[in-house]
């Protein structure tokens, strides 16, 4: 087995009284793609969001348990959340480019993190766009609005934006579910490409997608991690009845 990028221990998330995630311990190897599947409302997004402490943003959300990255528990009080998030990129279901130019969308992060020189920034922008296979499509309109791009392009731009600040982990919440077949294929290719450098955690409701892109798959049900194993095992020979029920579409 490869080295571990990070792992959680007894992670629970509450929304007010309600427990959305129940004592989940899970470890994520570097340079692999981990898919999280499960029916709507089972807590996939909640779990994903707790990994970069994005749940801090939600009023009433409370996280318990530990998340160890680089020998530190990020739920510790002393954690520098801002620094942490720089190391963990995130991509959402709905593409959410900033209302700025394509160039600015990507340069924004690096510039904030101290890159001042125009030439350096230019380079980062180009590299990020190349990595996400967008460069050829947008190189002529780098200073045009990012909102003028198609949905699929916007989503890849958002991935490029994350990549530009050099994270080591990428969290993706249904990154292709709002995209057309062609864009979906491109994003999936991109994931395969990026996993050479990053640990990628992807939430998806498309089981074929999970099977295609991931190395390991976790099945969630009502806040519990029912099963977590090699993707191939999960899809061919799951250990739990409910996993089987779900992947064979008996509910959800």
């Amino acid at each position: 087995m490869s080295e571990t990028a990070f792992y959680t221990k007894d992670l629970s998330v509450f929304y007010g009284e309600k427990q959305a995630i129940k004592n989940i311990s899970m470890d994520f190897p570097s340079r692999e793609v981990i898919a999280l599947i499960g029916p709507s409302g089972c807590g996939k997004s909640t779990f994903l969001r707790s990994l970069n402490r994005m749940n801090d943003v939600i009023a009433g959300a409370r996280v318990e348990g530990e998340i160890w990255i680089n020998g530190r528990d990020i739920n510790d009080k002393g954690t520098d959340v801002v620094r942490l998030r720089q190391k963990i990129g995130m991509v959402w279901q709905k593409p959410n480019p900033f209302h700025k130019s394509i160039y600015e969308n990507i340069a924004f992060g690096p510039r904030y993190h101290g890159v001042r020189k125009k030439s350096e920034l230019d380079e980062i922008v180009e590299n990020s766009l190349r990595k996400t296979a967008l460069w050829d499509e947008v190189k002529d309109r780098l200073h045009g609005s990012a909102l003028a791009l198609s949905g699929g392009q916007q989503q890849r731009l958002c991935i490029a934006r994350s990549v530009a600040v050099q994270p080591s982990i990428l969290l993706m919440d249904e990154p292709a579910s709002a995209l057309d077949p062609v864009s979906t294929a491109k994003v999936e290719e991109l994931i395969a490409e990026l996993k050479r450098d990053y640990c990628i955690v992807i939430v998806t409701h498309n089981m074929y997608q999970a099977a295609r892109v991931s190395d390991k798959t976790g099945f969630f049900l009502m806040g519990d991690l029912v099963e977590y194993d090699e993707t191939q095992k999960i899809f061919t020979n799951p250990s739990h009845r409910s996993t089987d029920d779900y992947i064979s579409g008996r509910f959800g």
Binding site: D80, V82, R83, H113, G114, R116
Partner: protein, 308 residues
């Protein structure tokens, strides 16, 4: 001189105790907290100053609270001076309640029109119109009241036109936007699908409104009405211009009356600071303040009800 330092911070991760982003965070924090602190200081000083002025007549023993609240005679320059504020309390209560009684059905119907009947026309025409009504300054309402409503009432009914009715009519237009906008919010934030559920059963629009929407949104509608009353209660100039200002408990809608605000406007400038008369006017202001708290309290109760 800043940029090299920053660069260094970015590079030497954990060395500096105050990396840029933490400093930044503090700047923001100090700024917003200062703004909020100022808000809190403001409200406390309002309460403190008005209360300390308004309580002097009672503290000094010159007037008893119950006499002020229940006295029917306002004769501050008489021998002995009499300070009965009941006429103003009654006047304020009458005008604001009647105004709300007029505005409530109008507001509800306008809200229904905008959300259920013709949302497009509503958004394009009625909504801006109602916002405009809210934007018209109260002196202009007073001016129109004085030059249209008062002469109209004078010519149509017995009396001089000035009085509770004139005040209420002017106020009802002034608070219509408040009532309407809250009703509109309530109607448009109805749980998704509620209305469709009823339509899908074949209920007519009116049935849906009357049997489903009205009961479900009632607490919110009441909130709007209370807010309207609250606004009417505190309105000064427009009312003062058309109500007639006689310090008597009104016995008819067409009779000149006075409100807390109108008597303050009227007499504050003519009395010397520190005199009993002047201090008693501050007591009236204090009553207005207390009423504000009361209204806010009621609104909160209703809102809590609406949430359930």
């Amino acid at each position: 001189m800043n940029s090299p330092v920053k660069r260094e911070n970015a590079a030497a991760d954990r060395v500096s105790h105050f990396p840029k982003h933490i400093r930044e965070e503090w700047v923001g924090r100090v700024y917003v907290y200062a703004c909020v602190a100022l808000l809190v200081v403001t409200i406390f000083s309002i309460v403190w100053f008005i209360a300390s002025k308004g309580l002097t007549p009672f503290v000094s023993g010159a007037i008893r609270i119950q006499d002020l609240l229940t006295g029917r005679v306002w004769k501050p320059e008489g021998e002995p001076p009499l300070f009965g504020a009941l006429p103003f309390l009654a006047g304020s209560a009458y005008v604001s309640f009647i105004a709300a009684a007029i505005a409530a059905p109008f507001g509800f119907c306008a809200a229904v029109f905008m959300t259920q009947i013709a949302p497009k026309v509503g958004r394009r025409v009625l909504q801006p119109a109602i916002e405009l009504l809210a934007g018209i300054p109260s002196v202009v309402y007073g001016f129109v009241g004085l030059s249209v409503i008062v002469p109209f009432l004078r010519d149509t009914f017995p009396g001089q036109g000035f009085g509770i009715l004139a005040g209420s009519l002017v106020l009802s237009i002034m608070i219509l936007p408040t009532v309407t906008s809250i009703a509109t919010d309530a109607l448009s934030t109805l749980p998704a699908g509620l209305k469709e559920g009823s339509f899908a059963l074949g209920a007519t629009r009116w049935q849906t409104i009357y049997r489903l929407i009205l009961p479900t949104t009632l607490p919110s509608l009441l909130t709007g009405i209370v807010l309207g009353i609250s606004r009417a209660f505190g309105e000064a100039l427009a009312v003062q211009m058309v109500i007639g200002n006689a310090p008597h408990v009104p016995t008819s809608l067409l009779q000149s009356a006075a409100t807390l605000t109108s008597i303050i406007t009227l007499e504050m400038g003519n009395t010397v600071g520190g005199s009993l008369h002047n201090n008693t006017l501050w007591s009236l202001a204090l009553i207005l303040l207390v009423m504000t708290f009361l209204f806010v309290f009621i609104v909160r109760l209703l809102e809590r009800r609406a949430k359930r």
